[in-house]
Every structure is written in C-alpha cells, then in structure tokens.
Amino acid sequence: MEKYRIDPRKGIEFGLYSLGDHIPNPHSGERISVQQRIDEIVEGAKLAEQTGIDVYSVGESHQQYFISQAHSVILGAIAQATEKIKISSSASIISTSDPVRVYEDFATIDLLSNGRAEIVAGRASRIGLFHLLGYDVRNYEELFEEKFELLNLINDSERVTWSGQFRAPLENAEILPRPLNGSLPIWRAVGGPPASAIKAGLAGVPMTLATLGGPASSFKISVDAYRNAASQSGFDPAELPVATTSLFYVADTSQQAMKEAYPHVNIGMELINGRGYPKQHFAQGADTRDVLMVGSPQQIIEKMLYQYELFGHQRFLAQIEFGGVPFDKIRKMIETIGTEILPAIKKYTAKQ
C-alpha cells in the first residue's frame, strides 16, 4: 500500500469527487456561471482539507453541461490552494490523451502540491470526446489499454523505449519532470461488469470502482474478481488498494436528504444521459444494502461500515455536488462529513 501512499493504520480514506458537471439547480432553476463553478470546485477543496477529508478529485468531461474539459488545470489551481489533501482525477480519459503529456501534467501537479498528486485513468462513459479529439471510437478498448500501459511504463521508469499503434514510438525517451518521490499512484477507473475490474487486477494496479446504484453485493463480484485476477497474475491483493465512488447527499434527517437530493440526481441524469433517475430506484436506495449514499449522518455511517465489511476497501469517494447542488449545501455537507461521519468511520476502520 505504501507505493500508493495509503496507510491502512489510519483507516479508510474519505474523498470527494466531482465530474465538473454544470447543471442548473433544480430547486431554484438557476445556473451559476462557468467561472463561479470552477471557483467553487477549488473552494470545495479548501473546505474539504480543513475538515480532514483525505482526497479531492476532479474528472475530465468534454461535453455540454460540463466545465472540466481541462481538469488538470483545475487540479493545478487546487494544488496551490491547499496544503495536505491528496489531489486526484476522477477520471483522466487516457484513451483520448497522450500519456506523455498526461504524465508531464500530473508530475508537475505533484511537484506543485509537494507530492500529493495521483491519476485515476478511465475510458470515458460518454463517447462524444472521441470525435472531438480526433479518435475513432471503434478503438475504444484498445486505445485505453495501450495508453494506460504506456502511462504506467512512464511511471515506472524515467527513460522509456516503447512502440504502439496509437502514438509515435519512444526511443529511450526521457519523460520529465519526475514526481516528487519518483512515481505517482495510478489507478484504473472501473465501471460496469467485472471485465474491466479483472483487467485492473491482471495489471496489478489499484482500482477505483464506480458504484452508482443497486445493491452493494453486486459490486462485491467486481471486487472479488479484481483481487482474484491480481493473485493469478502474481500480485499480492493485500498490497493493492480499492476505492469505491458513490452519489452522496447528507442532511439532518433521511427524509430531508432524500427530498433535497432527488431533484439534483434526477436532473443531472436527465440532462447528461437523457434519462432521469427512477423514483422507485431512488426509494430503494435508502436501504443499507444499496450503494446510494443518501441519508442522515447515522445512515451514511451505517452504509459505509456495511460496505467496508463487504469490500475491505481503502478509500471511499463521495460525489456530493452532482446536479447543481448550491454551494451553501456543499459547505454544510463537508462540515457534517468532517464533524460526524469521518470520526465515526475512522474510529471503526483504523488499525491501531
């Protein structure tokens, strides 16, 4: 775990993540400006740090209703605005980027932040960016696998000799700058069926697993498949961290949380994916066994610990601002996480 800057003795890490969505607040119908949204993402990182949250991450998205096309630039600003919180991506779409450039960016963020940067590399759940950036979506899988491999190669050695299908070959190329402590934690973003989790396991890289809805036990299949694949491939699963990500909304009571959260989640899904979030599914989400993290602080704690028993994961990432959640609510949720949720889950999961 040390290689990935994870100290299990301190208990499960708690992080926040943003996709950089820019959605009108469904309660008021208002949409803040792009500039304000970016400012508030940076501001959220400062608040998160102050309350003891471990990780803050911003993802890359290239389409309408998003502001994080240049997510690494935003992460650079966060590096400057904070001092100790880990800075990550959620995710960086490595398939449509040059791994050399991505590494240069994140190694620089690592230096700017005094060794706090990480990369979570993903394949993109929406595919419009392939056309925009000049890639053929028919190479969806292969683009990711090849570039992710190269990214890890660059991470492992300063000089790289490499050739592949989608990028000019590298001949003993020196990739600079180097991160503060020689390498970056690089995670594979995993969603959907276990196939991608198995690939992460076979490669022996940490996994960030998106768990957006449904019973936690369904995702347990991916976690098990990941660890089995890692073992098969000669890696020690005990040395490989697993993170999960969930939609998250906390309020004083579960009723208030459900009431406030639903319109945000629904409009976000509606505008981005073209289908809202069915109320029936959202109602089921209140069950402890469901991965949807919406409820009172006590309910959230129960769910997190239930999942911890199930997954034995090292990091949990919460998406608290999806679908136009106004900043005063974000601020309040960060406070609640810091004062009520973090102490409880750390106490339970820390290995003293």
Binding site: I127, V137, A261, G274, R275, P278, A283
Partner: protein, 188 residues
C-alpha cells in the same frame, strides 16, 4: 399526452398505411393527444455505434429524441424473413437501455401470411419488455388481403385498430395515474 407512431420499415406501403389509419383513429377519438408519425422511410439513419442517443446529430437525433419524449409509442412493423426489419431493430439499438421505462408501447403488424402471427409475440415483445415498456398485450395483425391499393378494406381490421388506439391511450393514462400515486407516497 404525446403519442408517437413509428413506421418501422423503409420499403413497401402497408405498414405506413396501417400507421396512418391508426394515428387517424387516435386523433379522432382522443383529440387532446399530440400525435407524431415517424416513418423510417423518410429519414436517413446510421447504424447504432453505441454512443448515447443525445450525442447523435441530424435525423438520428430527431428520431431518437422524439421517441424518448413520447408518453406512448405505437410501433408499426412488417415481417421480413420471419422477423422484424433491421431498420426497426436499429431504432432499439440507437436508444439507451430502459428507454421505454414509463412508456406505453403498442404494436401493429403487417404480414404477407398468417403464419407470421407469432413473430411480434416471440420477437418484438421480448425486446420491448427488456427496454421496460408497458406493453399493450393485444396487437393488431393485418394481412396482405386486408389491403387494397393503399387502403385497409377489412372492417374487422378497422375496428381492431380503433380498439388498439383506445387501449394505448387508456393504458398510458392508467399507468400515469398509478405512477403518480406511487410517487406521491415516496415523500421526496
């Protein structure tokens, strides 16, 4: 209530004729509904490449969005090689999973032979169920001999079309009401 009629083939005239009559029946008996016909013969659509329907442009964007915004869909399909035409299957492939959640879908089939009667039952309904449609169970099956020079000449078929129109509207209203009552109980 938005009702979309989908004429699922790009060749021939029988399915389009049947859809014209079906939508006329809807308009006549339920003048408050908003009725749109999508005849696939009039659009140029790519094969689905897996992207989200919102990322398509041109005809594909128009056709998929019109369907996604509908409360009810009446699908007209001929039978090709003992199945639905590829053009119709492509529409399903262009749409997202669960695309028909909270939508009522009914079916009009035209066929050259009565031996094709179960094609819709065995091949179309499973797709609609997978996509979460509320299916109007009884469909209208129309044979070659029921048409004469682009007109339906069998009164029995006309009556069945009227009943299908009514069933589609009634079921859409009923499901909307059930959903409303259920959602009111959620308190969020």
């Amino acid at each position: 209530m938005k009702i979309v009629g989908l004429s699922g083939s790009i060749v021939g005239s029988k399915t389009r004729t049947a859809m014209n009559d079906t939508l006329e029946s809807v308009k006549k008996h339920f003048p408050d509904t908003e009725v749109t016909l999508l005849d696939l013969a009039e659009y140029s659509l790519p094969f689905s490449d897996g992207r989200n329907y919102m990322e398509y442009e041109g005809d594909a964007a128009y056709v998929t969005r019109t369907i996604m915004e509908a409360d009810a869909l009446i699908i007209g399909t001929p039978v090709f090689q003992a199945s639905i035409p590829a053009t119709l299957k492509n529409i399903f492939d262009l749409l997202p999973v669960n695309a028909f959640r909270d939508k009522t879908v009914s079916i009009v089939v035209t066929a050259g032979s009565s031996k094709h009667y179960l094609v819709a039952e065995q091949q179309l309904k499973p797709i609609l169920a997978y996509m979460k449609a509320q299916i109007v169970q009884t469909y209208v099956f129309i044979e070659e001999k029921d048409f004469q020079r682009k007109e339906i000449v069998n009164d029995d078929v006309r009556f069945r079309i009227d009943r299908l129109a009514e069933d589609t509207v009634m079921l859409t209203e009923a499901y909307a009401k059930i959903r409303e009552e259920r959602e009111a109980k959620y308190d969020f």
